[in-house]
């Protein structure tokens, strides 16, 4: 029994990591990329990687000045914005590229799902990608607290409370686990110095280290197996990966860099928030109106405001499990069906992100 299991695991890994193909000829020189009407989707992963690189570089620059203490965090961010030469551009570039990275990672997820890019032998690529998606959200959540302003601390409190609320729906023997998890993340009775320290370490050390590993595995796997066809039937036209596709890929990076830099130069990210939300966090002061998570969490935040908590949590956790098991659940599903599912999710995401507030007021107003 054990021997058979080990043999199956070995065969699974041998098929996903064929040693014979691990050379420059297979992985770069001889590699081709299918050309069809969905070819644009092949660039989304590269753009996400490039935005991650911007995050690393700008994040390192911010680290020279940022102080991860509750007394100095806000002031150090103000110092970066107001006093450090070019500081506001670097900070804006970090904020804009973070949002862009999440947008592109979601677009990459939706298109690869629609193109059935998770199918055998690309399961490992897919799983690493889902891991990276979750880590990207982790980056967003942990980074949100670091400026230590009103919206940062209050939104983090709400986020952590929603973890704790899960306990009431679990069996009695497990009901304490979400509270324990919240306390582990929070580090003390309320969101304070311990929380800031933990979020800081997660944001600048733990998550980047895991990301580097997963990105390495993801890219290695992509190079090993090449791009999936992505469309039904056979693809007749292809182009060389090197240099044709790589040059196009780098050109999109150039365009993205230009757009990001112009946005960082001309449009302060903070301008989208009401200014009381940008005030330093005051534990004794009143909580200002309009506390919300970042826009990419609206897909969970607004349903939580309108629907029963257990239902939303079930849907979110169920969705993550379905994504992780997609290569096996959708093994027999046609690309056409997958495309319909992907379009459905994309529409939901766009509508709830752009009009979530309007829908919320309609629902609550009608109640």
């Amino acid at each position: 029994m054990i021997r058979r299991t080990l043999t199956s695991v070995w065969e699974f890994l041998a098929e996903r990591f064929p040693v014979a193909k691990m050379d420059l000829q297979h992985m770069v020189q001889g590699k081709t990329v299918p050309v069809h009407r969905m070819s644009w989707a092949y660039y989304l992963g590269g753009i996400t990687l490039f935005l991650f690189m911007i995050q690393v570089v700008t994040g390192l620059m911010l680290l020279f000045y940022y102080q991860p203490t509750v007394n100095d965090a806000y002031e150090s961010v103000q110092y970066i914005t107001e006093e450090v030469p070019g500081g506001h551009i670097i900070r804006n570039l970090h904020a804009w590229s973070a949002s862009a990275m999440i947008f592109f990672v979601l677009a990459h997820l939706v298109t690869t799902f629609a193109m059935k890019a998770f199918a055998k032998p690309r399961e490992v690529t897919w799983l690493a990608g889902i891991g990276l998606l979750l880590i990207t959200f982790g980056f967003g959540f942990s980074g949100y607290l670091l400026p230590w302003n009103q919206i940062a601390v209050n939104a983090t409190k709400i986020g952590l409370q929603s973890i704790e609320a899960m306990g009431q729906y679990l069996p009695a023997s497990m009901a304490h686990l979400p509270t324990q998890l919240k306390e582990i993340i929070q580090g003390e009775a309320s969101v304070g110095q311990a929380t800031l320290s933990r979020f800081f370490v997660l944001h600048v050390v733990v998550l980047p280290l895991i990301s580097f590993g997963l990105i390495g595995m993801h890219l290695f796997s992509v190079q090993l197996h090449g791009m999936s066809n992505g469309v039904p039937g056979e693809v007749k036209t292809t182009e060389k990966f090197f240099p044709t596709f790589v040059i196009k890929d780098f050109s999109t990076w150039g365009a993205v860099f230009f757009i990001m830099f112009i946005l960082a130069l001309t449009l302060p990210f903070d301008a989208f928030f009401s200014f009381p939300l940008m005030d330093p966090y005051n534990a004794r002061g009143s909580t200002p109106d309009g506390i919300k998570p970042e826009w990419y969490f609206y897909m969970v935040y607004y349903p939580l405001e309108m629907l029963p908590y257990w239902f939303v949590m079930l849907a979110v956790n169920g969705g993550i499990v379905v994504l992780l098991l997609a290569p096996w659940i959708f093994r027999q599903t046609s690309i056409k069906t997958l495309r319909t599912l992907a379009i459905g999710f994309a529409l939901y995401f766009i509508i709830i992100t752009l009009f979530g507030d309007v829908i919320y007021h309609l629902v609550k107003g009608g109640a």
Binding site: H88, F250, G254, L265, A271, F275, P276, P288, D289
Partner: protein, 186 residues
């Protein structure tokens, strides 16, 4: 103890809080606005924290009294419970007009029309009052207005960045083509 008494006296009179303006700006802009638009403390003038009446020393109390005597426009004031925009309001309008304007808060926009742009972000103080944005912060304003202003202001830099990016991509592409050509067998 002395500070506490002073704070209590001001809290009872609450003369210097102008929630009408805050309410108008908030309703007009649909953005959350707090006392921090004009006051040194986002919690308003009453209390013991920094920028609130209860925290003032004797010198600051004199400045406060002096600012309250600025009944007519044109007097430069440095009221410690107000921020630069709040002090500018007193200077432009004077306390008397300011109190009158509480009946019609939209008048503030009218009086500030020619008062300029204190934070230098390209959006006038009058407009920032209507937009519910922070007139003391050059990184805060209506996003579209800031974008248009900054594009105009940084036009040369934008052209330079465009040229630099295009030149970089051109060079990188040719480098990769050269690598590809070099890798081929003769």
């Amino acid at each position: 103890m002395g500070r506490m008494i002073i704070a209590l006296v001001f809290a009872v009179t609450a003369l210097q809080a102008y929630p009408e303006f805050q309410k108008f700006s908030q309703t007009h802009s649909r953005r959350t606005v707090n006392c921090g638009m004009c006051h040194a403390s986002p919690e308003g003038p009453d209390g013991l924290s920094f920028g609130q009446v209860g925290s003032l020393d004797s010198v600051q109390m004199d400045l406060l009294k002096e600012a309250r005597r600025a009944q007519r426009p044109g007097m430069e004031v440095s009221n410690p419970i107000l921020n630069p925009f709040g002090n500018k309001l007193v200077q432009v309008m004077g306390v008397r007009l300011l109190v009158d304007a509480k009946k019609d808060p939209a008048m503030l926009h009218y009086y500030l029309k020619d008062a300029g742009d204190m934070d230098g972000d390209g959006v006038t103080d009058a407009q920032e009052f209507l937009d519910g944005t922070n007139p003391n912060n050059r990184h805060h304003g209506d996003p579209l207005a800031l974008l248009l202003t900054n594009v105009q202001h940084h036009f040369f830099e934008i052209v330079m960045i465009l040229l630099a990016t295009a030149a970089g991509m051109f060079g990188l592409s040719n480098l990769l083509l050269a690598f590809a050509a070099g890798g081929k067998k003769p």
